[in-house]
């Protein structure tokens, strides 16, 4: 028999079942406010133990007085009366039964066996207790490339979780009955279910679970702003850091891909109806995957010479490797989706012509027209839109110039105007292509930066400077018409504006000069008019975005749908996918009605 520190904690005595030698113990409380009555054998006599619901709220009451340190001979499950003490098994070292019931001060508890009778699911712990008993696992960080190394290459910064880290992180999920994280996800991925599978080390099944609702998990796991979506709603996040849902998503998708476990379902059904998808960005790819899986013929028309839309030309390699984008697109090809490159819908084929050829059309062309500030000197050389800068690098591989033919814009002192993810991308690209000094100029304060915190951190680590509360008012150039400086004005924050953020107000007379030999304007994009010139009757709002029925994402032209940035303005990859899903659902419904009438 072990010696116990016989302590009364808060004047209460706790009951444990445990091996006196190895101290594996079973806590014998159950949830519910009522006391549970256990039958126990004490010195050959049957007694009753009454135990309260919560770990820190134990009540003990017995029909015979027992003291701390005394051993019960047996304890029975209150539900099925089976013994909870396995007398058949003995500790290998001390030969005492593996479990004995000892009255003790609760010190160390390890969740432990179920009732021995098969089928009786009862075990001694309430879920809440179990949680308290778990060793507290902090949010697991992703291992990443060293900052001094990564500023010299274009390889991805985070390496992603290992299996061990993923298992550890998965234990942090509470498996809520009403999971709020799912509401936070624009495509409602069954997050607890996939994390449960991760915890069981069924990584492959976890990936398949996500794919039931999200066709691009490897991409979303990387570029979704989880901190303002699923992870923002995570209950763990109330007191601690939320479960790293995005990192787990990325892990399982990478696992599935890297282990060669991706299976392309054989779609036998051919419904005889076909749809056209305009644009191969995230919205279009979602519609294509959904509709193809239902048995429709799908043709995706892409204006560029590479598929993927913003995933390809916009998001840099070090944040989203293009091989992953192409892998996902190949998956769609294997599903049977047809891709047509270099096809500019509008001038080459009008929406009307597509309507004649296809049963339905989805427009997911994004918001690709770069916005400029319309200030003096914007036409100077080496003033770029973020779109041009990123397109040159990501799409045209200008960083490999002169092996690739597109020249790479370089500067020693680079200024990036804007505070969003695109601005961070541009700044981090500049660092990687040898710029000595990269500065982000943003008109509000750090709190208002629209970029993901993770991206801001990465940028700071890589040595990018931030000039906050600063707004450019003109560019200054030299005789060769190349930009040499930026005249800025200091800002202060006033009352909140329509976006809820405090409005920046210029401070009169605070003008100052920021020297630079290259400037990148990353203040947003707007609707590209190219498709509308041949389709004037497509209704648009005052910002030029397509008007849709929000329930169905159908446009003013029947069976022509739209989704993604072209209906909302610049938003996220996953929101575009959510919009695509809504359109696909209604498209399927309407096309089914048409099919069934025939």
């Amino acid at each position: 028999m072990l010696e116990h520190d016989i302590k009364t904690l808060k004047n209460k005595i706790y009951l444990n079942i445990y091996c006196p030698h190895c101290q594996n113990s079973l806590n014998v409380a159950d949830k519910g406010k009522n006391l549970l009555v256990y039958k126990a054998i004490y010195k050959g006599e049957e007694i009753q133990l009454k135990l309260g619901a919560y770990l820190d709220n134990y009540e003990t009451e017995t029909s015979v007085p027992i003291e701390s340190g005394e051993v019960l001979d047996d304890l029975l499950c209150p539900k099925c009366n089976q013994s909870l003490v396995d007398n058949g098994k003995h500790c290998v070292e001390c030969e005492s039964p593996v479990a004995r019931v000892t009255v003790s001060a609760q010190s160390r508890l390890i969740p432990f066996f179920h009732c021995l009778k098969s089928g009786c699911q009862w075990h001694g712990l309430s879920k809440a207790d179990e949680r308290k008993l778990k060793p507290k696992v902090p949010r697991q960080k992703m291992p990443e490339q060293d900052k001094d190394l990564r500023t010299h290459n274009f390889q991805e910064v985070p390496y992603g979780y290992t299996g061990e880290l993923a298992l550890l992180e998965a234990t942090r999920c509470l498996q809520c009955k009403k999971p709020l994280c799912v509401d936070g996800c624009p495509v409602n991925v069954d997050i607890p279910a996939f994390i449960a599978l991760v915890a069981e080390e069924k990584f492959d099944e976890a990936a398949k679970k996500i794919k039931e609702t999200n066709v691009l998990p490897a991409i979303c796991g990387r570029v979704c702003p989880q901190e303002s979506q699923c992870e923002e709603k995570c209950i763990v996040g109330v007191k601690d850091e939320p479960v790293a849902i995005g990192r787990l998503e990325r892990f399982v998708a990478d696992y599935e891909r890297n282990m060669g476990l991706v299976k392309v379902p054989n779609i036998k059904e051919n419904l005889g109806q076909k749809i056209a998808v305009v644009g191969s960005g995230p919205a279009g790819l979602t519609v294509a995957a959904d509709m193809r899986s239902l048995g429709y013929g799908v043709t995706i028309l892409e204006a560029s010479h590479v598929t993927g839309g913003v995933l390809t030309y916009g998001i840099p390699e070090f944040r989203l490797p293009k091989a992953i984008v192409q892998f996902e697109i190949n998956y769609l090809k294997e599903l049977g989706c047809r891709f047509e490159l270099n096809h500019v819908v509008g001038p080459l084929t009008s929406i009307e012509e597509l309507r004649q050829e296809f049963d339905a059309v989805f427009i997911g062309i994004g918001a690709g027209l770069p916005v400029f500030m319309n200030i003096e000197g914007e036409a100077l050389g080496y003033v770029y839109s973020a779109n041009e800068y990123l397109t040159r690098i990501n799409l045209m591989k200008a960083y490999l110039f002169p092996e690739y033919d597109t020249p790479m814009p370089r500067g020693d002192k680079v200024v990036v105007i804007g505070g969003g993810n695109v601005a961070m991308d541009c700044a981090r690209n500049a660092i990687r292509t040898g710029s000595k000094e990269v500065t982000i100029v943003y008109r509000r304060s750090r709190n208002e930066l629209p970029a993901r915190l993770e991206e801001v951190h990465h940028a700071e680590e890589e040595g990018i400077q931030f000039r906050l509360l600063t707004n450019p008012i003109r560019y200054i150039g030299n005789s060769q018409s190349r930009v040499t400086a930026l005249e800025c004005i200091k800002m202060e924050l006033g009352e909140p504006d329509s976006s809820g953020r405090r409005r920046p107000i210029p401070i009169e007379g605070s003008n100052f000069i920021v020297e630079c030999d290259m400037a990148i304007v990353a203040i947003g994009t707007s609707s590209n008019p190219i498709i509308f010139k041949t389709t004037p009757d497509l209704e648009r709002n005052k910002w030029g975005y397509i008007n849709v029925n929000p329930e169905t994402n159908e446009t003013s032209i029947p069976l022509v749908y739209a989704g993604g940035d072209i209906i909302t303005g610049s938003a996220t990859v996953i929101e575009a996918m959510g919009a695509g899903r809504i359109a696909a659902r209604d498209m399927h419904k309407k096309l089914s009605e048409i099919r069934n009438k025939k």
């Binding site: 400029f372 319309n374 839109s385 397109t391 690739y404 033919d405 597109t406 590209n528």
Partner: protein, 274 residues
């Protein structure tokens, strides 16, 4: 992949004509519109205005001057070779309705583009006066084709080796002074030529259209690299143009923007030689 079905070199090999099989584009393209070409997997995207299209055979014609790496590479291609990407038709078509009498001014390779617009102008019922110019006789292209289309044709060469000695602005000045029935001038050619034509027509308050050729990447309104200042406002040449009212164009800015990558162009050429 788009096969080259016909190749022809002109102007001592400095100007090349390709007929490229691109049936969809050939059916849609209108005068004044351009295509973006990427020759091979590692190539850059360059805009080239379509000089002619045959919807029946499914070919488009481009005529380009060899100025840099990509055009030099293109010259080395032959009939049967493939071009990786051809995207189009892009840009707004030229305004080719019946204006009455129009003067079509083309210089250098600009003649190739003015030819396409001239054809459309003629078909729309305009009376067409042509002025085409080149540095010297050997550099002059499409003379016969223009002669067939134009009701009157003037030819100038800088060195006087053929036609009138001088610039395209010389016969234009005479025309604008003597003729009162001219409704529109269309000028396509080197930036300096278009700038001078516009300076001249401004004196006569004569509406003048020009076709601009800034650096472009995607050609679909995405990159903003082709921005030009029109009446002090920023416009994207690829979606708002390429044709603009010449009197509103900031030619000096365009010239400077177009010379931004001259050093890169050299590096790129050197690299390909090695």
């Amino acid at each position: 992949m788009f096969p080259i079905v016909n190749k022809q070199t002109m102007a001592k090999g400095t100007i090349v004509r390709f007929d490229i099989s691109a049936p969809k584009i050939a059916r849609k393209v209108q005068a004044g519109q351009f295509v973006i070409i990427r020759v091979h997997e590692k190539g850059e995207r360059i805009p080239l205005t379509v000089a002619e299209a045959d919807a029946f055979i499914g070919t488009i014609t481009i005529i380009f001057q060899v100025v840099g790496k990509t055009t030099a590479l293109m010259r080395s291609l032959n009939e049967g070779d493939m071009i990786q990407d051809v995207v189009g038709p892009l840009g707004k078509p030229a305004e080719t309705h019946n204006h009455g009498t129009v003067v079509m001014v083309g210089g250098g390779t600009g003649v190739a583009i003015i030819y396409h617009v001239t054809k459309a102008m003629k078909e729309a019922g305009n009376k067409v006066i042509g002025i085409i110019g080149a540095r010297e006789q050997n550099m002059l292209i499409l003379e016969e084709e223009m002669r067939v289309l134009c009701d009157e044709l003037f030819i100038t060469t800088d060195d006087g080796s053929y036609g009138m000695k001088g610039f395209v602005t010389d016969p234009l000045r005479t025309l604008l002074t003597e003729r009162k029935d001219i409704n529109l001038v269309y000028a396509i050619g080197p930036i300096i030529m278009m700038k001078n034509v516009c300076k001249l027509t401004k004196e006569f308050n004569m509406r003048t259209m020009v076709s601009l050729n800034p650096v472009m990447i995607d050609g679909t309104g995405m990159c903003g690299g082709c921005r030009v200042s029109i009446d002090g406002k920023t416009k994207f040449c690829c979606v708002d143009g390429p044709d603009f009212d010449g009197h509103t164009v900031d030619f000096d800015e365009l010239e400077k923007r177009n010379s931004l990558y001259l050093k890169d162009e050299k590096d790129s050429l050197l690299f390909s030689v090695h």
